[in-house]
Symmetry: C2
Subunit: 120 residues, 2 copies
DNA sequence: CTAGACCTTGTCGCCGATGTCAAGGCAACG
DNA sequence: CGTTGCCTTGACATCGGCGACAAGGTCTAG
C-alpha cells in the first residue's frame, strides 16, 4: 500500500502519516524507488493512532498502544504501559471535569447575579 | 502608577500588560517621558482581565467586560454584551462537559476491558 | 515524448498567552 | 560621572497537530 492509499483508508493525510513516522509511531518499508510501503498491520496501527488522537491523547501517550499492537496483541490496550496511560488519562479527564464543573458553577453564579441586578 | 507596580499589584507581568494594551483592553495615559501611567480604574480592569483569563476566556471574550467596567459599572458583567458572552461560554462549557463525559465513559470501558482480558 | 498523478524531502504558517532577550532612553542616588 | 533600576519598542521562542506549498523524482497511460 502506498502512502496516499493508506491516508485515504485511515481517514487522514499523507502529511500526518509522515509526521507520525517522524515521531516513531509508524514504520513503513521502503520500495526500491524510495516510496513508502505499508502493510495491513500498519493500517491497524494508524487507525489506533487516529482513534486515540480523537479522544484527546497526544502522540507521546499513544506510543505504548502502538508498541502493544506491534507486539502482536489484537488490541493496543492490552499491555501494562497502555493501561498505565489509560489510568493517567482517566485521572486527567476527571481532573478536567472537576475544574470545568467549578467554572460552570462560577459562570452560572455570575450570570444569575448579572440578571438579578439588571434583568434583560 | 507605573507598569511595574501595576504588574505586581495585579499579579501579572509587564509583558502581559503591554500585550493587553496592544489588544485594546488596557489604555494607560502617557507621561512626558513616554512612561505608561495607570490609575485605579485600570487596576480594576486588569484584575477583571486576569480573573476571566483564569476561567478560560480569551482576550476577545473579555473585551465586553472591560468596556462595561469602563462605562462606569461597578462590575463588568452588568452589560448585555457581557451577559451574552457569559451565556455563550456557559454553553461552551456544557458542551465540553458533555464531550469529556463521553470520553470518560470511553476510557473507563477500555480500561475495564483491558483489565478483564489481562488482569494486572 | 508528454501530461498527469503519484511520490520524495524540506520549509513556513497557524493559534494564543506567555517568557525572554536585546538595545536603548530616563531617573535617582552616591 | 557612573551605577542601578526602572522604562521603551521589537523580535524570537514555546507547544502540537495540521495545512499548504515548492522543487524535484517516478511511474503510467495516451
Amino acid at each position: 500500500m502506498l502512502i496516499g492509499e493508506l491516508a485515504e483508508q485511515a481517514g487522514t493525510s499523507t502529511r500526518m502519516l509522515r509526521y507520525y513516522e517522524a515521531h516513531g509511531l509508524v514504520r513503513p518499508a521502503r520500495a526500491a524507488n524510495g516510496y513508502r510501503r505499508y502493510d495491513e498491520a500498519e493500517l491497524r496501527v494508524v487507525r489506533e493512532i487516529r482513534e486515540l488522537l480523537a479522544v484527546g491523547f497526544g502522540l507521546d501517550d499513544i506510543r505504548p498502544f502502538v508498541a502493544c499492537l506491534r507486539a502482536g496483541n489484537p488490541s493496543g490496550d492490552a499491555c501494562p504501559d497502555s493501561v498505565a496511560v489509560l489510568r493517567r488519562k482517566l485521572a486527567e479527564v476527571d481532573d478536567c471535569l472537576d475544574r470545568l464543573g467549578t467554572v460552570r458553577r462560577h459562570l452560572q453564579e455570575q450570570l444569575t447575579h448579572a440578571l438579578a441586578t439588571r434583568p434583560q
